[in-house]
Symmetry: C2
């Protein structure tokens, strides 16, 4: 297997882009990535596009080919991949596989989604496409409901409080305030969070990530194709894991853990030879505040049951033991579904370059965690800077 | 690269399955493929699912993971891939890549679509997701319109007649009559075709493939995992090509040719070391009667401009120079979009096994051609039986 390097990266701001088509957003991010890579377009051997619901929300499919054409990439295989909210991470993994296996010298990966042109019922209905509607549908659960249940169980089993969970929000919103790509960073207090509108008891407004528009893109390549600058940065994919888990919440033995995350993390640590304590920063899938707590435990970053307490003690903050979501995460940076997984990679790249607006000091290794549905699909990637 | 073998295959009948969910159809085909392969489920390393519009038409995404769960496949990467009508072929190619690269010992590929529960406007609207709606949308063209234009040009340039084109239909409908999986085989006359209802001038009813429900599945693996029977059959993937072309009909210099097909065929011949004359049968993408004529020329099976004449002369029939669509093709077998590409592979497998109900005598090599949108995505595969 060839080593897979980051050649270039690009991203739009996450937020409201109702003045742009979904194609235009994807092209914006992708063109930045290609230009930064300095790689001639003729060397790009494939395009992977991560997207979740362009069909239901935009009436558009086959976006991989459409976007490639606008970028002047002709004839090469262009594939949309979908795994609900993990679509972006899955796209990145397939780009890595194509370079690692020697099939391509360089591959473009783009993640994109637009949601903000749609009504709230339309968005809710589209997001519910990520559930096992035949089995779990009759329960009437939506995603806030699922994570509300998880919160209840976590609180009962581990004593996690509203204040613990609010600490995640305060941290991520503050991080988002420093990230120019973030949709809704904020300086929030415990009181503001506790008094915000109820969404799905016990989840309140600030516990939920917003719907978003956005796109992110990365060019990965063999080392030989890198610019001098990129070669010096030497940002390499150390692990790439994709797993699946039950699509039915009713089949989860523990509402406070996602098997797919646990397995993907094990595989990623094994591939990279690293341990959780070796990771300088993590961009993980905090679609809800409680999700960050669960994810941090599933990834082995925090002892089981301690996610809330660690957050409250600042141990996952910018100066903490393990820096989680310095970008602001989904809660503050936003969650344009198909873009999120690629956006996480983009964030880690900026950190490893030492060029992030909310820089983790001395960051040498970063992890991303992208989770789809109720844990039906998961990717974990570890990136590192060559010594 | 490891050699990639066919370990097992399964398919539902194509047609009306409004009594089954899309998941159930996929599971039906996939379970047959797995059982036939004799491969323990623990050896299956990934699932690729080809599907086009389960989002808009079924309100369901993330089907790869949902279907895997029902099959008792746990933890492995499950990915939906989409490239409009080429989704199934793209899924098959990714399964092959995973085995060829050594990442997996065996991979399950499933193609599935359900359309017949939807109204005609819903289906038309869903199919139009395969167009570049920003650019070509304002023209008001739908797919029958596009292929109607192609017909006009082919007739003008090459003298192709209504009778030539009807010969394709008569052949494919007759083949379909012998295929128990086909949706609408028929014994048709020139007069019946010429008097059928007009769809998009000059395309009449029998010039258009029907909407369909259906699923097809294949398990591909390294040779070591094959049953004795499969090893004896020795059906191997000799070439796997995926290409892209313009998504805008307005950018096609020639309405009677798809660049993506021409390129994919070149690549497939080069990979396999075979020429068009070495291919015993071809399952190609006859979404409309005129499409078979164009495809047969683009694939180099028939001299440019002669597709209609060859069909009229019976040279693409069961006793012809090159047997095209012995399954009945999309016109007669049906076109459950995401299933079609995998269904074509299924058909070739049965032919190479010598077990097809409409057997091409002595078939040793078969080709499939799966085309998406107005040629935005294409796959060409060549399979052969070991000597």
């Amino acid at each position: 297997m060839n080593a897979v390097y980051v050649a270039g990266a690009g991203s739009t701001r996450f937020g409201r882009h109702t003045d742009m088509t979904i194609e235009a957003l994807a092209v914006d991010a992708a063109a930045r990535a290609i230009v930064e890579s300095g790689i001639d377009r003729s060397r790009i051997g494939a395009v992977y596009l991560g997207n979740f619901v362009s069909g239901p929300l935009n009436g558009k499919e086959v976006l991989a080919g459409i976007v490639a054409e606008r970028l002047g990439l002709h004839g090469i295989p262009c594939t949309k991949v979908e795994g609900a909210c993990a679509s972006g991470g899955i796209a990145f993994r397939h780009a890595c596989m194509a370079v690692a296996s020697g099939m391509c010298d360089a591959v473009l990966v783009v993640g994109v989604e637009t949601m903000m042109h749609a009504s709230t019922p339309e968005i809710t209905s589209a997001l519910n496409c990520a559930m096992d509607n035949e089995n779990d549908g009759p329960s009437g659960l939506t995603f806030p409901g699922v994570f509300g249940l998880a919160w209840r169980v976590h609180a009962q089993k581990y004593g996690t409080t509203r204040e613990d969970i609010a600490a995640v929000i305060i941290k991520n919103k503050a991080n988002g305030l420093k990230n120019p790509l973030a949709q809704m960073g904020a300086d929030l207090t415990q009181a503001q969070i506790a008094s915000s509108v109820m969404i799905a008891d016990p989840l309140q407004l600030f516990d939920c990530c917003p719907p978003s528009d956005g796109a992110a893109a990365v060019v990965v390549s063999r080392r030989e194709l890198l610019t001098d600058k990129a070669r010096q940065q030497g940002i390499r994919v150390l692990a790439s894991a994709q797993t699946s888990g039950s699509a039915r919440i009713s089949q989860h033995p523990d509402l406070c853990s996602f098997d797919a995350t646990v397995l993907a993390a094990q595989q990623a640590y094994a591939q990279s030879g690293l341990q959780a304590t070796d990771i300088d920063l993590v961009e993980l899938h905090d679609c809800f505040s409680i999700a960050e707590i669960i994810d941090s435990e599933d990834l082995g970053l925090v002892p089981r049951g301690q996610g809330g307490h660690w957050a409250a003690e600042g141990r996952t903050g910018m100066q903490g033991d393990t820096v989680i979501n310095p970008s602001g995460g989904l809660l503050a940076k936003g969650h344009p579904v198909g873009a999120t997984g690629v956006g996480q990679i983009y964030e880690v790249i900026q950190q490893l370059r030492g060029e992030h607006a909310n820089q983790v000091k001395g960051a040498r290794t970063g992890m991303t965690h992208n989770l789809g549905g109720v844990g039906v699909a998961c990717t974990v990637h570890i990136l590192g800077a060559d010594a």
